[in-house]
Amino acid sequence: MRKALPQATVFHREFQSCGALLLSLCLLLPGRSGARECRIGAGRPGGGMYGIAETLRQRLVSNNASVRMRIVASDGSCQNIESLLDGQVAFALLQYDIASEAVIAGSPEAANDLQEHLSAFLKRPTSPVLPLGSWPCLDQETRCDCLPEQCWGWFGPVDPGKTSLCPPETVLSQQDRLVDLSTWIRNQDIRRSLWMCGISPWLASQANLKVVAGVGDESVHLLVRSPLIIEDFSTLGNYRVFFGTPLSGSYETARTILGAAGLVASDVAFPGTWKEAIEEIGNPESNLLAMIRTISPGDQEVARLIREGLVTIQSLPDDVVRRLIEAHPYFRPCEIPKGTYPGMGPRTVQTICVDTVLVTNTAHLDAPTDQEVEEVLQALEHLDSTDGSGVSSSSIRLKWRDFGDEDRMDLHPAARIRLRQELARSWGRPSLLLVSVAVFLMSVWLLRNRLKRGRHPLLGNMRNQFENPAWPIVSVLALMWVSAFTVQQIEQPINPAIQKVMDAFWSMASFATGNFESDRLKSPWSRFIGILTTLGGLGILAWFTASLTALFTTGRALWRKRYAGHVIVINAHDALFRLVEVLRSPGPLRLPIVHIVAKNLPVRLRNRLLRIRGVLLHDLDAEVMADLRLLCPATSRRVIVLGERTEIDGKPAGQGFHPLRVVRAIRLASVPGAEPSARQATLQEGVRARAGSEENHRSRGSRHPWTVIDSDTENANDLLIPNTDWLVSAPTRLLLEHLLARAAFDPSFSTVISHLLSYQNCNAEIWTALLPRSSASRTWRALREALVRGSRRSGVVPIGIFRPSGDPDCLPAATESAADVRAWLLQSPCSPLPGKVLLNPPSRFLLEDGDSLIALAEDEKTLVEAVDGAFPRGRVRHPRSG
């Protein structure tokens, strides 16, 4: 548009002469040698803008700045923007919405908008008819070769020659039109229907407005005659509303608000001044219902009106605010805090705000330099109450961003530097804090890892950490707070529903739990963050659910499974696989977790063991009591100590753990009260509680685990003598050699034994079952008959009796089923290990209380059921249980 306009105009000539006059005035002014005086457009004397301008002027003088201010009083923002656009002033204080409208009006797109507006306007039935051939087009292809002179100042200059050749009368007569275009152009209402203050698009296009700083924050005050309440703005159509003096920013803002409410300003405007309106609103007979003023919160005059009960301050309707924000992004939702005015009640007032900005026009020939703007900024920053004019430092809050949804106006270069400094100040400190916290946490984590090295591998690893439900809780809180803070920063200028961090927090809390509502957020970036929050929240929710489930089921059960009723195997060689296979084979009392502690375990063995589910390898020293205690031997089902293997795969296997020292370590590690940690202590206490009361355990002595030792060692007797009540000697090598010897004479013998030891399905093995007390005093023959007759389907074959020789009090109660008795035996600290096996007893052999039946059966459960079937147990109270 700019290139389309002719450059040499009368305006330019006037402008140049005006600029020369301003320059000469600046040079002639007293003060600092070489100081230049610039005019600043302020409002009416006594107004807020004027006060700021006056204070700035004084500060510049006191600063001995190279620039001075000369205040030009005006009717308000509209006159200020006109003055700034046509170069009458170098600076102007005005509302941000007015300045933004000027920028919009000067944009290339404004020409099209103008034509569309005019076209729409002219098509209205009530509009004056404009000759289409006389369109005030702004391009070179203009059809308006005979525009009236009156309109050039607004639509832009036209060729003066053509203007003189085409008087309006000629145009009208030739086009046979009814309306004088100049009359239409002079109509302020029509001009204002396009842009605020009727800004000339041509002048705006010639300007380059830059924001020096935001110097104030003004809120729209809806003052309603007391005690009325306006819920719907449409009711205002029947009354009068005062919304300021024409050409003021307050007037334009109120006009826009009423337009957003569907009202025409001229229909409801109160034709009077502010003082007249104040007098009128106190009159009950008056038609004046409300006043809309855009002023700084805390205005003395408004305070007086509210205090006197003449008016109440009310919130703007939500729909009006929403439409305003969407249509005019330079407005931003805000609130007038409670207590701002006496008598406004214990609530905040939702309204819209607009900033007061100091603007300069850098396209002006006499535009202030960067240095001068910098001095102006310095003066603004140091304003305080001593500067007089009623302007305090608290009322001047400099800002360079967040003027609205979109900062449509560019900042002056000097102001841009301030913005960067402010951003560095506002974000640098939190960033530095965050980095410091991150470094600290990383250091703690590294230190913790270093301290943990060599400790129990299961006590703390990443997986265990993630299984802790506290982490997802912390994570979701962190996610909500971070997203809430970010969204609040983005949404606060444009979204009336999100003004505080807590507003955003509750929104993000609903998002994080999967309740995404797109209309809660206005900005696309906020919505994107909302989506991320929703996705992250859903993930964290799933994590929380999983960890909570793990806590109540897997985690606790896994811990108990690992460290209660587990099997500890010490030393390792190839026999381990078969051992683990049997221990982990399906069965009523099998499938325990197997903990293996081995020294110098070959990689081949280690890799094979790691593939077995339920097998855990530990790099511990089994000869050290403190290490062994980590495996909770007191709560283990069995401890199996393999013999030392001197060679594995033809290579020296190194020294294994010595069985004697291992047994000593087990004995020490099983002493109650010597648990390594509170967690394990709790666990062990729980396990003990299931087995019986603590007093019983104390009376029964220590809680040593049944330890099976591969007694292929020279000092087996040394091991067994002091530990006979809990140590089982298994001379496997001796038995192997006996089996070899028997196989040498009888091949079938080895076949039978091999199958008895195969522990496979559908295979009979040797099992034992505790006989009930009702079987006592019976003969072996009677037992056999009872078994066969009582449970014909079991097929068990009795072959002998195991008679314990331990503490007679350490016998299970005979009141429960055999399975319960078996479970009691597994948990009982009283070990019936010492005893005698009577294979193939005589038919008249008398059974005693505590005897166990040795029989061939498919599995242990079958044998137990057969015994239960042969000797139904009565509910006899055992003497020890009382």
């Binding site: 049997v582 070899l740 004479f745 294979l839 193939n840």
Partner: protein, 288 residues
């Protein structure tokens, strides 16, 4: 399951860690080494170690051991090994035991060489019973070509014994008693009086010999052909053992003894068929 007429036992791959084996062989041959050692059993230990290792070991035992047990150092090279095996006439032995060599990366390689020499020297003559102890269970197929060969996996057996001890100590003690004790596993034909009965009936009645010696019926043996056709493996709870051996331990109370060729009995001593028949008759009369 007879242990009559013990002759020579050859043990290949012996080393001092198998120190209990000679004594166990003597014990289960029905002889206890003492001042009056039986002359009917001879044990030849063949090992890679120096003879002094056996001398040193035997010196701690009774001097009479030297009359029963002989040690022979096994040569390393193949021809010498073959010649040595031929020289000791393995075909005349009662049984041959081949032990693994743990000092080798493949502990069973030495056993394979010995078995190859034994097979080469057999020359269509009936071979004695062969018991091979293997270290690697995967090596079992290497020895399956030898007839009448019993293959035992050393580590598996020891591990299973340990597992048994850890699961059920009393059961382990019972197994220990069966393997190393004096009880014997005997096999006897099914008495005529029990032919029409079931296993459960025999289990109730057959609990002692006429002289009061207690016996325990453990299972039955079918002929291998019957065993392979038998449905009892699938139908009867507790039926067990491989079909190829024909032995069923705890076959179920309803198992008809008519289908069995013999009974598997646990007894402290051997007995005659007549003793068993009489015991069965007494059991029948007692039940009736």
């Amino acid at each position: 399951m007879s242990n009559d007429d013990p002759r020579r036992i050859l043990v290949f791959g012996w080393e001092p860690r198998w120190k209990h084996l000679p004594l166990a062989l003597l014990e289960h041959a029905g002889t206890i080494p003492s001042a009056s050692l039986p002359r009917c059993l001879r044990i030849l230990l063949v090992g890679k170690g120096d003879p002094s290792c056996w001398t040193h070991f035997a010196s701690s035992l009774s001097p009479a051991w030297n009359d029963i047990v002989e040690y022979l150092q096994c040569p390393e090279d193949w021809p010498s090994l073959e010649a040595m095996i031929e020289a000791i006439h393995p075909e005349s032995a009662h049984s041959l035991l081949v032990l693994p060599d743990r000092s080798l990366p493949d502990p069973d390689s030495h056993s394979r060489r010995i078995c190859s020499c034994l097979r080469a020297g057999r020359k269509n003559r009936p071979s004695p019973h062969l018991v091979v102890v293997i270290a690697d269970p995967d090596a079992q197929p290497d020895f399956s070509t030898f007839p009448d060969c019993t293959i035992l996996h050393e580590d598996s057996l020891r591990a299973t014994l340990l597992a048994s001890a850890s699961m059920d100590v009393a059961a382990f003690r019972a197994i220990e008693e069966i393997i190393a004790g004096q009880e014997m596993l005997l096999e006897a034909p099914v008495p005529e009086t029990l032919r029409s009965r079931t296993f459960g009936d025999a289990l109730i009645g057959l609990d002692e010999l006429p002289d009061g010696t207690p016996i325990s019926l453990l299972g039955v043996r079918q002929s291998q052909a019957d065993a392979s056709r038998s449905l009892w493996m699938r139908l009867v709870r507790g039926a067990s053992l491989a079909a190829e051996s024909g032995i069923f331990l705890a076959p179920g109370y309803d198992f008809p003894l008519a289908a069995a060729t013999s009974l598997v009995i646990l007894a402290p001593r051997t007995f005659t068929w007549e003793e068993l028949d009489e015991a069965a008759s007494r059991a029948g009369s007692r039940q009736s």
